[in-house]
Symmetry: C2
Subunit: 380 residues, 2 copies
């Protein structure tokens, strides 16, 4: 796990990885998922949880790209609601933190980062990365990012596609086209098209056909190119961004940002731009081991090597008898005891307990919604 | 449920039930089970839990027999460890409380009560009752007890046998013999023999044969008769009781009790006396609805009428989605959320959570033992 999680990049620095300056890394940390309820809450979403190692995922993401860039070239876009949480984690860092007043999905986030980057450095490559993903091999990941930055300098829109290892229905797919010359030893393909999350039958078909990749949600492009595409396909967003750009570094900035954002449509960069653009889009093969860690079950599978002889994974103060393939997460001072369970998920926090079928953990969101509907606001 | 639990006997008092004085009722409250962990603990066993209604089972038991006897004729035998708990419940009552320094099962408890009763009232009938059972119809129960007391006055040892409604393996059985004349409309049989808890096959056979009853653990006999039988079959206990009798109402009583009890063997009145005696033993048919409430599952079945349309029974702050036939007991300020569970048991207390297969709740004891073995003494 330690090797996988790669928060040990410092050791590898003996190799002296070159920084990829003249580019900017944008960590998209504005998400507000509830799929890890009761550990995740509206005020503490997944990227702020240390579910894969000792540090919050957003910090792991930062540390992973650190060897690539001076800190001032790392942008962190977060929701204003998570300001204190973020400052606490990054208090000794020179990274740039940008707050969105409301979550509007990734297209506005990318646009906002783009105008800030443009103002400071002009038209350079920007790599946008989700804050809450699992990356197995950090060094290979950075090599892939370098290749992507190089490719983006040639005017291409770049994405990273993950060779799928199972017919996952929770991911979008990328259908790859013609193979191109490798860059830095990394495979490159033209993108034929982006495909929405498939049903199981279709996912199986994609795996069989062999020319589909998982869409990792990581994109690399020059600032002017993406702003141009936003202008074409999301003109309202573009107009808003231009207004914001007009008040950058001025007192009106926060109020303008709030006004503009309050009217923005929530839309992802994938759906809003990447699926529609007529610019050349390329995909790099991401062989570094990847997951979006979308559910308790996904986390359980990722941590497979921590399971005991009965297939159980136990965290915290627990007593378990005659149970198999269960995931018990106890983050409280209380004792959790489990008897005769199979494929059960138990998550215990200081103020809530979740118990459920581990195979249905993607539905945890429904629990969070039910709680909100019932007005149990202390647990939202 | 209200009708079943019968803590509303006061209303029925309109009928003016006659007291059965010249007899004593001994509530055996010294048990120390852990089958309701985490709600029950060594310092708060089942008889002190309000799992069937608004009051602790031991109080329900007292209220149930109250119409039969003046309070001074109700004896409560408890473990010294539960002194405060007991005093709190019965603080305004004139009942007699006797403490055992150590739990030694029911034979010593019955013997101790017998010498106290003998000292005060001489050779009168005593009815011994477990403190933690469910009784459906309290009025019928009292009628049966009256019949038993009447029978015991004729020099018989009396037990109450429950016509079985399923091949339960958790109960001992009574094989009944010849039918005798009814008393107060209650069926009476000679007892052929007592039978230990059977396996499933044998339990099925008992049901088929039709002449087996569940052993309710309720016994009625004259004081001299039971002391005599203890003298015959448990001479060491008898000797100890005589020593204790010698210091009744004296300063040496507590020290003597402690010394004697420390050497006593743990043995039940069933096994130690009732199964061996050659005196005539009779059984009354107990048709009042009975259970020893031996597990969470037994409790779930008893409370069947509180289950919702999905077969779930929910207590406390819970959110449950797409689950069936599950028993969720939340006795904390925390929120319990359940997703996609079937026949699941969840018990949440302020310091522990139990999750398990409801059908295996008789094994909860193993959890309590594992916790003790692990040295988690806060949860024992």
């Amino acid at each position: 796990m330690q090797g996988l999680i790669d928060n040990l990049w410092i050791r590898k620095m003996g190799k002296r990885e070159m920084k990829a300056n003249h580019s900017v890394f944008v960590i998209m940390g504005g998400g507000s998922g509830t799929r890890f309820w009761p550990l995740s809450r509206e005020l503490k979403p997944k990227q702020f949880l240390n579910i894969l190692g000792q540090r919050p995922l957003i910090e792991e993401t930062f540390l992973r790209i650190s060897p690539l860039a001076d800190e001032e070239r790392v942008f962190l876009v977060i929701n204003r609601a998570h300001r204190e949480l973020t400052r606490k984690i990054f208090k000794d860092r020179g990274i740039q933190i940008f707050e969105e007043p409301f979550g509007r999905n990734t297209a506005p986030c990318v646009g906002l980062a783009a105008i800030h980057i443009k103002r400071r450095w002009g038209d350079i490559p920007m790599a946008v990365l989700p804050a809450d993903h699992f990356i197995g091999d950090g060094e290979l990941f950075r090599t892939t990012l370098r290749a992507g930055i190089e490719l983006s300098r040639r005017g291409k829109m770049v994405t990273i596609g993950i060779p799928p290892i199972k017919p996952e229905t929770g991911y979008g797919y990328i259908k790859r086209g013609r193979r191109c010359d490798s860059i830095r030893g990394q495979g490159v393909f033209e993108v034929d098209r982006f495909v929405e999350k498939p049903d199981e039958k279709r996912a199986l078909l994609y795996i069989k056909e062999g020319n589909y990749l998982w869409n990792s949600g990581i994109f690399i492009f020059q600032v002017d190119l993406i702003l141009n595409e936003i202008g074409k396909y999301l003109p309202k967003l573009y107009q808003g961004l231009m207004e914001i750009e007009g008040v950058l570094d001025r007192d009106q900035y926060p109020a303008t940002l709030e006004r503009i954002y309050s009217h923005l449509q929530s839309i992802s960069i994938d759906y809003g731009i990447m699926e529609r653009t007529r610019e050349p889009v390329y995909t790099l093969l991401g062989n570094f081991g990847w997951s979006d860690v979308g559910s308790w079950q996904a986390l359980f599978e990722l941590k497979g090597d921590q399971r005991n002889a009965n297939g159980n994974m136990l965290e915290g103060l627990t007593t378990i008898i005659d149970s198999r393939d269960s995931f018990i997460v106890n983050r409280s001072e209380k004792l959790v005891a489990v008897l005769g369970a199979n494929q059960l998920l138990v998550v215990n926090t200081p103020d809530a307990v979740l118990v459920g079928d581990l195979n249905r953990s993607q539905e945890v969101r429904a629990i969070a919604e039910a709680i909100k509907r019932k007005g149990f606001m202390d647990w939202v």
